[in-house]
């Protein structure tokens, strides 16, 4: 019995030869247990060693194999070929990022935006190590836990039309991480994050398309995080009007 196959239509771009990206079609075996990344590895090993893409862990935690599969951002290590049978499957680099080569994108913009929201514990009063750890109840941990699961795979940026249209937008993952620390009982950095998070390039740029949360492989829900920050910012604003003398 002949082996079942499926076609992959893959973006190719070589900065020295291609003025614009083009597509190249490969045919790979359609194995029940193969994911898109397996197919790309098969192509690179047996058909075309020049194909470039990023990957590492193959188990949905390193966040480096994100690509647009049939127009939707996916982790290719967690996207089975059989979902798309009989094909063909269009494999493109993550949308909204500059393409360096083939399926490899330039993530500099995200790397520059991430630290702007100070996604780490910020303390006004740093206690010495001898004072022990900052303790937290399970309930306090539950408040932010979901938002701490981000693996920086940037699928949410590729899914966000606001980021595509307005590249200055700080974007879903960074704002969700800001929210994660704002919700942390050990953190005292909300005021310090405000200038970036509550700016017009921050939460107010978001129109709640919601696709960031749909594509998130870790169910972080950046869209929810951003709207919840809008509520906080609106309440801050209300307090500052009703009680302008209060400590903001």
């Amino acid at each position: 019995m002949p082996q079942e196959t499926i076609q992959l239509v893959v973006t190719r771009f070589h900065p020295d030869h291609d003025p614009v990206p083009r597509f190249q079609t490969y045919t790979v075996p359609l194995h029940e247990d193969w994911v898109v990344l397996d197919a790309l590895n098969y192509i690179k090993d047996t058909q075309d060693g020049t194909l470039s893409y990023r990957w590492s862990c193959r188990m949905g935690i390193c966040g480096s194999c994100g690509m647009n599969v049939n127009g939707t951002p996916r982790l290719t290590c967690a996207t089975f070929l059989r979902e798309y049978a009989p094909g063909p499957i269009r494999v493109e680099p993550l949308a909204n990022f500059p393409i360096i080569r083939d399926l490899v994108v330039d993530i500099t913009d995200f790397m520059e935006k991430l630290p702007r929201v100070q996604p780490w514990l910020v303390r006004q009063d740093e206690t010495p190590l001898t004072g022990g750890e900052y303790r937290q109840t399970p309930g306090e941990m539950e408040r932010y836990h979901q938002f701490s699961l981000c693996i920086n795979c940037m699928l949410c940026y590729a899914a966000c039309p606001v980021y595509g249209l307005h590249p200055e937008f700080i974007g879903p993952a960074a704002l969700a991480l800001a929210h994660r620390y704002n919700l942390d009982s050990r953190d005292q950095g909300r005021a310090a994050r405000q200038a970036e998070v509550y700016s017009e390039e921050g939460i107010w740029e978001c129109t709640f398309v919601g696709q960031c949360s749909v594509v998130c492989p870790k169910k972080v829900d950046p869209a929810g995080a951003i709207q919840q920050e809008k509520v906080s910012a609106a309440l801050d604003w209300l307090k500052s009007v009703v009680w302008p003398w209060g400590n903001r």
Partner: protein, 136 residues
């Protein structure tokens, strides 16, 4: 479509979205655009309500003429269209409520389904109360 040459000499290719028609490229974006455009139909309803109050202020004859227009097939069709978009607004609004408002009961956060279900139920009750008030 533009090609950038960043200072590090690696030429990258930056795909650019159509500033006007980008939303046609993904079904979820079409849904989003319809949701946002629902506000235009809600605004049409509000404008019609202002017109209703204006006609009322002008006296019985003007108001009767206004109501006569409401009985035309054109007006009925327009209101069916407005109703469809108003329903789209309400359902999307209430289904997204749990993303914005995290409800904690007895120290545990309620599931998204429970919050959305509660919001939809409240909508049904409010609609029934308003109907009872208007028709009662």
């Amino acid at each position: 479509m533009t090609v950038n040459s960043p200072p590090n000499a690696t030429r990258t290719y930056r795909p650019v979205m159509s500033p006007t028609w980008w939303w046609l490229r993904h079904p979820a974006w079409v849904q989003f655009m319809l949701r946002e455009l629902s506000s235009v139909f809600i605004a049409a309803f509000l404008a019609l309500y202002l017109a209703r109050l204006g006609a009322f202020a002008s006296g019985p004859a003007a108001y009767a003429a206004f109501q006569a227009w409401h009985r035309t097939p054109l007006s009925i069709a327009l209101h069916v269209l407005i109703l469809a978009f108003a329903l789209l607004h309400s359902t999307t609004w209430f289904l997204l409520t749990p993303k914005i408002a995290r409800v904690h009961v007895a120290g545990r956060s309620m599931s998204e389904k429970a919050v959305a279900g509660g919001a939809l139920t409240a909508w049904a009750i409010v609609s029934a109360l308003v109907a009872w008030w208007l028709l009662g």
